[in-house]
């Protein structure tokens, strides 16, 4: 589950295209924010799908285990996935 150097490259989810999927590799943010994002189900190792972008370009919608979440780009840029 941990990411080691040399593993598959990761991208931040705000850089994904609608319809793209990936497995969450890591969440880089302040500890309290990381905890809350993980409590909401954004746990490393979980598959995540980028669903769409809001009409004004921010926030974005992602789906995880069938739950749809809206994330601002400032937060989405902290969550990295291994594309699949």
């Amino acid at each position: 589950m941990n990411e080691f150097p040399g593993e598959a490259p990761t991208i931040a989810i705000d850089a994904m295209q609608p319809g793209d999927s990936g497995v969450i590799a890591r969440v880089d943010a302040e500890p309290a924010i990381v905890r809350r994002l993980m409590e909401l189900g954004l746990v490393p190792g979980t598959e995540l799908q980028h669903v769409r972008v809001a009409p004004l370009g921010d926030p974005i919608e992602v789906s995880i285990r069938g739950v749809h979440l809206s994330l601002r780009r400032s937060e989405a840029s902290r969550i990295h996935v291994t594309p699949c």
């Binding site: 990381v34 809350r36 409590e39 490393p44 809001a54 285990r65 069938g66």
Partner: protein, 747 residues
Amino acid sequence: MSRPADGGPTLKAAPLKLATSTPAAGHASAPRVVAILGNPNAGKSTLFNQLTGLRQKVGNYPGVTVEKKTGSVTLPSGRRAEVIDLPGSYSLQPTSPDETIVRDVLLGLQTDTPPPDLIVFVVDVMHLTRHLYLMMQLIELGRPIVLALNMMDTARARGVTVDIEQLERDLGVPVVAISAAKGEGLGNLRRMIERDVEPSARRFRRWPVHLERVLGSLEKRLPRHSALPERARHDLALALLLDDGEDDMLARHSPPDVLDDARILAKRLDQLSPGWRSDDVAGHYEAIHDIVARAVTSGTPRPDKLQDRIDRVLTHRVFGPILFAVLMGAVFQSVFAWAQPAMDLIDKAINLSGGFIGGLLPDGPVRSLVVNGIIAGVGTTLTFVPQIAILFFFIGVLEESGYMARAAFIMDRLMGRVGLSGRAFIPLLSSFACAIPGIMATRTIDNRRDRITTIMVAPFMSCSARLPVYALLIGAFIPNIWVGFLTLPGITLFAMYALGVIAAIAVAAVLKRTVLAGGKPLYVMELPPYRMPQWGSVFLSVRERSVVFVQQAGTVILAVSIVLWFLASYPRGGADAAHVEQQLAAATASHDVAGAHQLERELAGVRLENSFAGRVGRFLEPAIRPLGFDWRIGIGLVTSLAAREVMVSTMATVYHMGDADAHSSSLREQLRDTLDPRTGKHTCTPLVAVSLMVFYVLACQCMSTVAVVRRETNSWRWPIFMIVFMNAMAWGASFVVFQGGRLLGFS
């Protein structure tokens, strides 16, 4: 349940002050207090409404803005149990005032609300994994829990089956399948509530070793207490460890040395194991995965294509905002215009009953108090109800259907620029009709700082009560000149609305950087599946909002209107009034109807001038002179505290015009033509009118708004702050307009 021995030798520090739970009267007794709990969007409130029906009460948890909803449920044996609807939460480690309340109630820190005897935990069975996260935390608190698997009808339709017995075995708690919206399984749930549910003995959470060791050392030092099961102290210890110093409740209830040590331990963990603050979460999710994998079979799962298809249209780049604008237009129009007939009807009924009751009383101060003080105050309160009811009907439908989250999704970027959340849009829009329902609608904003910022700027939106004031002043002073394809009066009116919006944006930006700065709220929001609104729930929320407003804001509004009545009626006029009274008596005796009528108006004017309100108006004159306002306008500013549109009728009385309205040409002429006897100049000029309108845009005048802010923020601090900063802004802006205008040569 025995209390700990007084002065127990093992306690060094001040003992934890914990609320004791209601002692059970006997082994097989039904629970007295049942809490309904779950993640947001689990269908918790629907279940609460189904169980309690109309037997609901709404109050506030002391000192915070969180609402406390309680009700009672009839159990199969006929006995009643109290039900608490706890706010929706994701975790026992809180990030919002709502979640803090839940934690405090469950850990027994909330002294006014004892821990419930039974928790009914509601989950959306389609999102079982995420919802079970909080469930795991609760189970380990060691309290009796029933798991209510909600939305079983949707699960069946999608081919998802749940092995309920397997789930019961794995979790160690009874599980009931329900569909709260359809009322399925509620009989089983009621029976389960009455049964003697034992707490689960299971432990699932996998704590990382380093954390387990630290938690163990901390919890040993927490005082023992009968209200908290042994295991709950793990969560209390974790809360102490994760606390960033902002948690007053924890600080108040924990021995100071333990608190200090927790800080030191947290710092050490930060160095040794940087990810420790979230290490346990992944482990808990692993445990949940195993349980869900054993209990849930998806058969041939049919994913929710409907949600995606609807969202493709409703959040489409072009159609999304268009549909949003149309919907908001409809909401605004209905609050602004459709409420009018009902408001007029209430107004008429109040006038009729005032006339009727007034007729029963002898002429004099008591009749005046009853008709012009009490009945008028009740009338003011009631005329807000149609707007509140209509707005909350729409909010109910938008929330229940799932569209509200999409509206926030669409507007988030725009509102984010001023530091607000997308959910601030509807409250601000509604405030153009009336700030009162608008402020009440901020309830949908979950971040406390964002919510208070929205409340603070909502009154800048020009409400419908300002319109008569604008209409009178524009009609009297702004010449009807065409400027391109617009007229000057139209442009002036638009400018007043625009000024309010600009002021709101500026103030929100300033507040978010100063008084309400701090914390980095996480703008993560769930976009729930679309559902048909539950009309029963919509009806209940409309009723609840209206009742809460009438009961809690209505009393303040009534008191204010009685005070204002007194100020405008006493003292009864002195020598000037006596003189006019004599003339009136003479005119009546000589059957001079027209003359008597004129003298009656004059008497009303003289009385108002000599009343306390009139004196305050005169007293205010030095303070408002730099804005171009004379004492007559000063009186209007005082009476506007009841409602801004009262300005118009006050002007009519002051200018001896009887009950003229904003469109009365004689009142407009009078405003234009009155000269100041001392200077021989006009008392009111176009420049004064603009200055006055700017004042009305920015000033905090409406005492009903203040009453609602007090109720919604649950403190006097914010309403007082609002009165001070808004009126300071209004004074400053009018000063700039009037003095600047004079310098530029306007009059």
